[in-house]
Point group: C2
Chain length 212, copies 2
């Protein structure tokens, strides 16, 4: 836990929802299947969906779709990687208090391109993040395939999480309104398949199962 | 359909997955519950999850968490709004050909703050996007609540979609490998609730139902 949170990390809106501890941030990153990578080229922000994986204090991001950024930032580019898990729809008695329950993590950092020697481990991490165990089952990448894979790396030094849980907010004057209020939980579900995807429990996506 | 797609819109990676027609883009924006808003402050990209709604050729984005940007860009700021719908896990016989099926839409534009007179309609659109019908059921916003709501608006002039569907890619030499290959479909599911959420059919999240 940081004693002083740097300005750009500090959650300004609804600060009571913020978390800066490594465990909370890592758990959100590890559960998410995809992330959104933000970068800037000549004053224009870009946000692209891509795959990510955390290995200790390093975050890997599949960067092939960001090649436009990489061409502009050979020496490293400031990026922002955000993952968001949607947990529920929060229906309040007033329009204003409608919300969603979610867990998000935001990582700021300078992205560098993963070099050849680090690439096999980084690609393995990305594969394991999506499909634990799969990198041993499927055919290993050839040198040509590794060359065609662009992976970015950034340190997990600057990250924050924001989490909303719990019921709807109700103003005292709204409590007697004849309006349904409550939370409708949502989750990512996997449809039945022959494949034993180790992230699925009872049809529900979650962190990798450790029971093999 | 544009005859010439502007440079920053053109999908560079896997261009065969790109779509630039309004119907495809609108359908993706309309189905998604959340978006990721990208902006830049003093050289640092930010990507924050938030709510959005499309009304014709205008995209509204709930901007309260972007107030840091708005303070820096009173006259309008270049932004990127991305929505991503995850549809499946694509397991190939080779590590390299693993992928995900998804539909994403990216909108570039200059965001301006919605003014007081436009705010009730914009807030209504954001509410209806999440919960169709709800803006008539719940208590209407007060003047103070409207004042506390920050909504950004951007035109849908510059947008593109990227869609991956279908089975895994298989290299001819991998076809006989004893590795399971196929697609595991995924979707956002709503858990049972007393609330008749008009975006749910058989527990599955989708575009608003038109059957009331």
């Amino acid at each position: 836990m940081r004693e002083r949170v740097p300005e750009r990390l500090r959650v300004k809106r609804e600060p009571q929802r913020a978390a800066y501890d490594r465990e909370t941030i890592a758990a959100i990153l590890d559960e998410a299947l995809i992330c959104h990578l933000g970068f800037e080229v000549e004053g224009q922000p870009y946000v692209i969906p891509t795959l990510h994986a955390r290995v200790g204090d390093v975050l890997y991001v599949h960067g092939s779709a960001a090649s436009r950024m990489l061409r502009h930032a050979a020496g490293g580019a400031p990026v922002c990687v955000t993952v968001t898990l949607l947990d529920g729809l929060v229906l309040a008695r007033s329009v204003f208090n409608h919300s969603v329950n979610y867990r998000s993590a935001i990582v700021f950092g300078t992205a560098t391109l993963v070099e050849d020697e680090e690439k096999p481990a980084a690609l393995r991490a990305l594969t394991e993040q999506l499909t634990p165990g799969r990198s041993d089952e499927a055919r290993q990448p050839t040198a040509t395939e590794l060359k065609a894979t662009w992976i970015l790396s950034l340190p997990l030094d600057e990250a924050s999480a924001k989490v909303r849980t719990g019921p709807e907010v109700a103003e005292p004057e709204d409590l007697d309104l004849p309006v349904w209020a409550g939370v409708v939980p949502v989750h990512l579900a996997a449809e039945p398949s022959e494949y034993d995807w180790r992230r699925v429990r009872d049809g529900r996506l979650g962190p990798p199962r450790t029971d093999g």
